[in-house]
Symmetry: C2
Amino acid sequence: VSILENLILKCLAKLHEFTDILVFLLHADPNMVNAGDMNGSGNLMDFLDEPFPDVGTYEDFHTIDWLREKSRDTDRHRKITSKSKESIWEFIKSLLDAWSGWVVMLLIGLLAGTLAGVIDLAVDWMTDLKEGVCLSAFWYSHEQCCWTSNETTFDDRDKCPQWQKWSELLVSQSEGASAYILNYFLYIMWALCFAFLAVSLVRVFAPYACGSGIPEIKTILSGFIIRGYLGKWTLLIKTVTLVLVVSSGLSLGKEGPLVHVACCCGNFFSSLFSKYSKNEGKRREVLSAAAAAGVSVAFGAPIGGVLFSLEEVSYYFPLKTLWRSFFAALVAAFTLRSINPFGNSRLVLFYVEYHTPWYMAELFPFILLGVFGGLWGTLFIRCNIAWCRRRKTTRLGKYPVLEVIVITAITAIIAYPNPYTRRSTSELISELFNDCGALESSQLCDYINDPNMTRPVDDIPDRPAGPGVYTAMWQLALALVFKIVITIFTFGMKIPSGLFIPSMAVGAMAGRMVGIGVEQLAYHHHDWIIFRNWCRPGADCVTPGLYAMVGAAACLGGVTRMTVSLVVIMFELTGGLEYIVPLMAAAVTSKWVADAFGKEGIYEAHIHLNGYPFLDVKDEFTHRTLATDVMRPRRGEAPLSVLTQDSMTVEDVETLIKETDYNGFPVVVSKDSERLIGFAQRRELILAIKNARQRQDGVVSNSIVYFTEDPPELPPNSPHPLKLRRILNLSPFTVTDHTPMETVVDIFRKLGLRQCLVTRSGRLLGIITKKDVLRHMAQMANQDPESIMFN
Amino acid sequence: VSILENLILKCLAKLHEFTDILVFLLHADPNMVNAGDMNGSGNLMDFLDEPFPDVGTYEDFHTIDWLREKSRDTDRHRKITSKSKESIWEFIKSLLDAWSGWVVMLLIGLLAGTLAGVIDLAVDWMTDLKEGVCLSAFWYSHEQCCWTSNETTFDDRDKCPQWQKWSELLVSQSEGASAYILNYFLYIMWALCFAFLAVSLVRVFAPYACGSGIPEIKTILSGFIIRGYLGKWTLLIKTVTLVLVVSSGLSLGKEGPLVHVACCCGNFFSSLFSKYSKNEGKRREVLSAAAAAGVSVAFGAPIGGVLFSLEEVSYYFPLKTLWRSFFAALVAAFTLRSINPFGNSRLVLFYVEYHTPWYMAELFPFILLGVFGGLWGTLFIRCNIAWCRRRKTTRLGKYPVLEVIVITAITAIIAYPNPYTRRSTSELISELFNDCGALESSQLCDYINDPNMTRPVDDIPDRPAGPGVYTAMWQLALALVFKIVITIFTFGMKIPSGLFIPSMAVGAMAGRMVGIGVEQLAYHHHDWIIFRNWCRPGADCVTPGLYAMVGAAACLGGVTRMTVSLVVIMFELTGGLEYIVPLMAAAVTSKWVADAFGKEGIYEAHIHLNGYPFLDVKDEFTHRTLATDVMRPRRGEAPLSVLTQDSMTVEDVETLIKETDYNGFPVVVSKDSERLIGFAQRRELILAIKNARQRQDGVVSNSIVYFTEDPPELPPNSPHPLKLRRILNLSPFTVTDHTPMETVVDIFRKLGLRQCLVTRSGRLLGIITKKDVLRHMAQMANQDPESIMFN
């Protein structure tokens, strides 16, 4: 066996080399591919992006200054308003500018809805392709194939002569061991094929397309720049590979990546309007709305999407954005509905309606499910992070293609024999959520009917479980264990992968099992005190589907720590206030249980793992440190690099720029008095000096640089001085050295600062940057700041 | 006629004097009553409130410092956490403290839901009392009376022998002119009686109970202190008088005041927990959640309530509050549902379900309704504000009781003859929203049925209108004009009055009329191009009830400028995504149209009218002024009153305090260097000096006051110096004089500052307070700052 294993490993390693060669052939510079690790400095530049960032733009992997962006936008707006009074043409232009926000939202909604619809249809077709093909039209999925067929009966909607399993087509055999093995083999082959294609596409064309994207989007929305992360190339590749990986049967969902896809749409459309493309702050407003549209189409929940964007993803969310997000979310939802990918005029596969109310006593199992969800969330986050860290730090991370192929193979091999893992995860969830009607043919609805009972179709009393239900129970139990284990290894591979659906599936399976258990207990023990009041014989008192839904909410809540948006999404799936209390009870319990083991949700955990500079609004900083403990320079360090307002030469400044790598320098009256005048950005200093040297006569290395209104008095014959007041920020943000860090953190969060200067009675003492704040917070939380940050 | 008029006026003036005497008898100090004007400095103190505010609390009509409140809470939390490790008892106490937030929410939800239910039931009964009485049990409303009766037939649910009109009871006559006149007269008398009782109760016991309360709650949530506004007394009186005024038939609603009632509940429960009662910042988090609970019970829309609180009311809304608000809103909704005041297990009277979809072509009338809503909103706000200003500035304002009685009399006299104004406004809205089913007996559903048609009950094709519909149309038109006019005069009187319901009624009437018009047009012109595609003969294509709902949304949007929360509330009323697009189209149009005439919604307009110091998050400040233009002292004014760190005597400080009325003083190194050290609050200075003089030996008028760590070097024999570093805020907020006001406004908003010091290269130049910012913003908007502020 060990020889065989070695052989496979070697073959796969060869295959891996082959992709690397492919990569090499497609790009002259193989280093560029390493951008896929997300933390390198190079990346696959989006070709249409501005190649040479100018004054006022930011460098890659830098943080934006929200206050500055906002005031730049106000300037722009002021200019347009004053111009608009000049001529009719300018007035129309100003109107167009005012409307461009809504136009962008409309476009985002349309494109996100269309993409979601296309992805749904493609996934449907390709998932079925693993089992067979439609003879009348190969592009039909199983269901569509049998719909169009005339020979389908109502009882057996899944069987029709046009749809042929591979075994029927290839060896004309539909039953028997050899047919089963052939189908099994082809199923695995298709899965491997899809997965390999996906991981290769991601590696070759768009390394940023991997993962769910939500941690990175949170970071970007908080003001970080990752060029190309939301590019057109990423959009295209992510859409295509998302279809491939979901169809390959891996334990992952398309909901998280859909948010990334929608944000790419948002970025694309915002680049068409200068109002958004030239202002990183405004662009982020569009992206927040796009995230809402993404969730809206992922779950068919526009309001839930807006709340998700507000609660989970966004950083700066003004009320204007709320309204626009809502618009984008609705447009996206209606676009998806008009595409109607599920053929039921619903937005999601698992929309449900229940017919019976819930009872107080059921709160106990619901809360138990909440506890299960919290434990699952903790377990998942811990194990997944440990595995991802291992991947980052050991040789494992060097074989992403191999990893994907191995995991796909394992998934396919184990999944095929069990009907609950063989089908797509969203179909599984849909079946688990379903209430057993009279006409349901599913194994889960195999109850023993009382032949004497004649009742309306909707109101079926509790019945004893038949053999199908018992079979389903242990199959579900096996599927549950399998899903729990495989999801931990799947999330974080170098393919697009969301974990809403796997989490919900875990919860739905556990919930359905608990639900069936409670139902049978109630049926067989009508006389127990807890059942006596509400569950008389012949009453329909327990809905196992509701338990599945509650379980799904609990597990999703445990993993992501969503609260309001989770409940609202679930509310929009059931469409009634009736079941909000069970859902809330489970969501609250799951959050509390999970929070007891660690405050971080999966997205925050991945942000930390990747070391993004993200200042979480939810973290409370409660330590008693002061600004003076955090600022640089520390005691004993070299003094702060400063510029003086009128005594340094061009050469001095250039030397300072060369010797340090700070993003900017405070400007003081003189080295002695150290009284603060303003702050100059490194970028703008370099550009201004370069510009002056080229164009301004008389500016030489010995010229005095001055930041004051009037030139300083110079000895005669000294070279022409260089005035740089234009680039000086005269209102740098300052705090005193006694300011509690709690307040400083609050100021950084709320105003979105990059840096803040520390003074004492007017004298400049030091500087605190966003990274200093993050480092300090990590330190106070007993984490080694250097090991976790920006690696 | 003029003599009669004079006589009535004199009589009413006497009546008015009488109430004043009553007021005088109940309170020793008649001046206290003037607090009803909301802008005086005295007020009816809530007896259980802390009588002597201590260090760390704020004076009435002052603004809180959010940053300070937050850091105080962190200190508290830190103390509890560190103590919790000491003993089990302390640990339990810390747990209780952590849970107290949820307990408060639960209590608020329960009380707000209960009060809403009680109000609904009482209004129902008292509204019917104006027309007659139930003989079997006088506390039954008309509907309840006939429910319990066995003699009611299904066709005529409103007629039963137990329910007797006053004319039947008093003169045994149910029909005829004299019976009509008697009923008319008694209707007016009851209305006057209710209204007089209400206005007297408000004037005597709780002057703050008048109005809708939302403008004041917005101001309070933004950090202003109005003691007693949310007191227990206000709660009680507002609840009682709300029932009275709604029953009196005035054109007002209970929805806005319910928000105030819920906030009073919030304030009451937060005063039970020291975590909230001692921290004005934390208290406001509870109040935000309470506002959500208020809207939740007002409209039966928990999600809409949370969004309303977020969008419309709240100022500081952290994510934790979002989750808790949602909890409170749900508890309130479920409490109300279990009380079941409408007997239909719905939360509101006007929950609807429609059966037919809407068509693209219908968007045109929907947008027209949006335009109508916007125009109505503008008209209402302008006229209402003009009238309220007249009331404030002329003698009119001196006769609030008379005003209420006159308006009630006019309302009752005009309303009685028209069936659409006689009934309660929410019943009217409910009828207008309704789709005409087969069994509907309402005049609005008097269509001519095709006798040959046999169809299922729900799917009724378009039919020609019968005479009842035409009668209803002109009655509705008259009612619409009446409502528009009377609402302008009603809102702002010294009684509890909300305007959600009157606005919705105006919109619903207009919408229903447009709907019936479109329906009849479509029926009679099936062959027109616009109808040909979707409105074939025999199809049910137009739902006039939907038009009413769209109109209601448009008018409500025009008046309040709500957007997302409005659509979500309406969505929760209809319970389906289907009709969100029409609602959004109308809401957006109405907002745009209304905004074109003026940016302020009714609540902001009333805030301005009353001159509350409210810094709106939505106003954009786009002018180019700098901090130096706004700060005090202005050029030519006396220099800033400052304290020096170690050279002033106790007497100097006391003189400074006596001679100025500033809330605090910057502390500088010395008068010459003017370098800033910190900021000392006036309150705390007074308390500290008083304290020191009483208890500290050797502190006399000549003692030097010092704010430094170590006492200054003093000549021998000088009195013992007084150290006041403890009360010095060492981290006052500073900006430079070159900071754009745009940034300053942003900082004030986001950090919730009271004041901000202005420096230039470390030297203190001046100070900017929140009121300076507001004054400047008014000035830039071409309003006279002194005339509109704080009058």
